[in-house]
């Protein structure tokens, strides 16, 4: 792939500045500020309904903050032209649906939309990038297959290929491992790590599994109730105290025997039951 210019700068490209996020009248987060370090693999974790997907939607301008702003390259993301943003920042939402009867190559090709126009519908460059994206995600041999026929793991790879074809230096993924079995979860996370390491892309993912997050993230953001409880390298911030504070779970944090990263081991049921009894 002709390496798109993901040039370094001293200021991080994407950040949320004191944003208030709400659906209708339901406020999810207030005065939330988050910085996405450039060239990081940032993972956002937190309990259900802590606002992690909402934050991701705001960072990708799918949700308009009722206060504050999301900055992309120093400018309010909502003031930038949509297609320009789409050439800088990609999003793979949870809600993505494959149209009926679409082939893998067709779906991946749709990622080229922000690079196309009415009179420039399918350039040689589009073709090349689509092939390259399919190769990188290991779905090239599925190119002519229908997406409906694929397994969950293959389908997720195809969606990631579509997001890659968008050729954005920043890529946001909302729970890319949901509904996959453990082997395919690791498979998808390995792919993300590879994209991060070899191409210098900035990746931001929302993940459910804290241990996956601790293993793969270079930067971790822990959210609870719309507030950032801690952020930093997993080795620095994942402690038993933090897990208890964020998830309300008593646990031990040990060293992952494979990678040396923090590994969260929930306390035995007995120990937790005693704690509850003592508290009440």
């Amino acid at each position: 792939m002709s390496a798109p210019d993901f040039s370094r700068s001293t200021v991080n490209r994407l950040s949320a500045e004191h944003v208030t996020l709400a659906y209708d009248q339901r406020v999810i987060a207030e005065q939330l500020s988050v910085e996405i370090p450039d060239h990081s693999f940032t993972v956002i974790v937190g309990p259900n309904a802590c606002g992690k997907s909402t934050l991701l939607r705001a960072l990708s301008r799918m949700l308009k903050p009722s206060r504050g702003e999301v900055l992309l390259d120093g400018r309010d993301i909502r003031s930038l032209p949509a297609k320009q943003v789409a050439r800088t920042l990609g999003l793979l939402p949870q809600s993505a649906v494959a149209p009926e009867g679409i082939t893998v190559a067709d779906l991946v090709g749709r990622g080229r939309y922000p690079h196309q126009g009415l009179l420039r519908q399918w350039s040689a460059e589009d073709e090349r990038v689509v092939q390259e994206s399919m190769r990188q995600t290991g779905v090239a041999e599925l190119a002519e297959r229908y997406v409906d026929e694929l397994s969950g793991g293959q389908r997720q790879r195809v969606w990631i290929a579509m997001a890659l074809a968008q050729q954005t230096p920043l890529l946001l993924l909302d729970e890319p491992t949901t509904y996959l079995d453990i082997q395919h979860q690791i498979d998808v996370l390995d792919l993300c790590a590879e994209l991060h390491e070899t191409q210098g892309r900035t990746l931001v993912a929302v993940l459910h599994d804290l241990n996956h997050a601790a293993r793969y993230a270079t930067h971790l953001i822990a959210l609870r109730g719309g507030e950032v409880i801690a952020e930093g390298a997993p080795e620095d911030i994942v402690t038993a105290a933090l897990v208890e504070r964020v998830f309300g779970l008593k646990c031990q944090v040990v060293e992952d025997p494979e990678t040396g990263t923090p590994l969260v081991v929930p306390a035995a049921r007995k120990a937790r039951v005693q704690r509850v009894t003592a508290a009440s």
């Binding site: 799918m62 649906v97 009867g101 939309y113 519908q121 002519e144």
Partner: protein, 348 residues
């Protein structure tokens, strides 16, 4: 392993490139041919039968005076109205089904046709208006209903399922109003109203052709330009938005266009049932291509409507059976089949 014929790119030096699906192109060409052939056959059909060759001659202006008059003054406008109404309904249906991401999200089901009927009934029953007023009333009724559905279904944007459910609710209310209006009518008005409500091409002339042609000429380029965004919308709002599609604007422009097309078609020929529902689905099965298949649906709608009108005249004689009855019977059967297969696929 099933494979799918890939679309081809046509590139011109200087950066211009077009993406074409060969199969879809062939389907569009064949449907267009079928629609025109059915149109020629329809012109030839009636109390005075005219062979196809003579019809073509007369259309080119080389027939005898008698045939020229019948073909160009009496029957051509009717066929053109049929083609335009079918095309508008096919395109409108494709837009609605794509926006709602639901094959049931067609104007028939959403209550737009019923709304146009209500407008026409108000003019016929309460105001005793003439043909032109009825057309205007139907157009107004369709537009008001479309606006009502859009506003009721609006919640930070219009979502597919909510649109369909709100549409079904609106449809029920408007149908009740229509029933009430009919009971208020005297016998003559009621008979006139019922004829209008079946949907027919009888007695249509150039007065119906021009407004419909004008509207199509304006809306078709607009709809096609926004069609690329619509393709992206099929993957979900966030996915399309992340690709740089102005989601709400695309949806609003296309919904308004679809409402206009449907209302104008209904105003011209009455609520011809089920063309908007079936044409996009049939077109899609022929092209086997994902996406809204706008042009193919348009051609399919035109071919369906004119063929149905021709069939009803051939089988039952001229002016006996309005085209709406034929499309209703065929379309109703199709709807049942659709419900059964969708149910089997676990989608409803």
């Amino acid at each position: 392993m099933r494979t799918h014929s890939r679309s081809r790119a046509v590139r011109v030096p200087g950066g211009l490139s077009l993406r074409l699906d060969p199969r879809a192109l062939v389907v569009v060409a064949l449907l267009l041919l079928a629609a025109l052939a059915a149109g020629v056959a329809l012109i030839g059909t009636g109390d005075a039968h005219i062979p196809a060759a003579d019809v073509l001659k007369a259309l080119a202006g080389n027939g005898n005076a008698y045939q020229d008059f019948i073909v160009r003054e009496l029957r051509l406008p009717r066929v053109l109205v049929g083609l335009l109404v079918g095309a508008s309904l096919g395109l409108g249906g494709a837009l609605f089904q794509s926006v709602s991401r639901n094959p049931l999200g067609s104007p028939d089901v959403l209550g737009l046709s019923q709304g146009a009927t209500a407008g026409a009934l108000v003019v016929i029953v309460l105001l005793s208006g003439g043909a032109a007023e009825v057309t205007l009333g139907a157009l107004t009724g369709g537009l008001v209903t479309g606006l009502a559905i859009y506003l009721l279904a609006w919640k930070q944007g219009v979502q597919g399922y909510r649109l369909v459910l709100v549409g079904i609710g609106v449809s029920a209310v408007v149908t009740a109003v229509n029933g009430y209006l009919l009971t208020k009518a005297d016998l003559v008005d009621a008979a006139r109203a019922v004829v209008w409500m079946t949907g027919s091409l009888d007695g249509r002339d150039w007065d119906q052709v021009w407004p419909l042609l004008g509207l199509c000429a304006v809306l078709l380029p607009l709809v096609l330009a926004y069609g690329r965004g619509l393709r992206m919308l099929e993957m979900g709002d966030d996915t399309a938005g992340a690709l740089g599609v102005p989601v709400q604007r695309v949806r609003l422009v296309l919904m308004v266009s679809a409402v206009l097309l449907t209302a104008a078609a209904t105003a011209a020929a009455g609520p011809v049932g089920f063309v908007a529902l079936t044409a996009p689905q049939l077109a899609r099965r022929l092209t086997r291509s994902p996406g809204p298949n706008l042009v193919a649906s348009l051609c399919m709608g035109a071919a369906l409507l004119v063929t149905a009108d021709w069939a009803s005249q051939r089988v039952f004689g001229a002016g006996r059976l309005p085209v709406g009855v034929v499309t209703g019977v065929l379309g109703g059967g199709y709807l049942l089949w659709l419900l059964v297969t969708e149910r089997r696929a676990g989608r409803i």
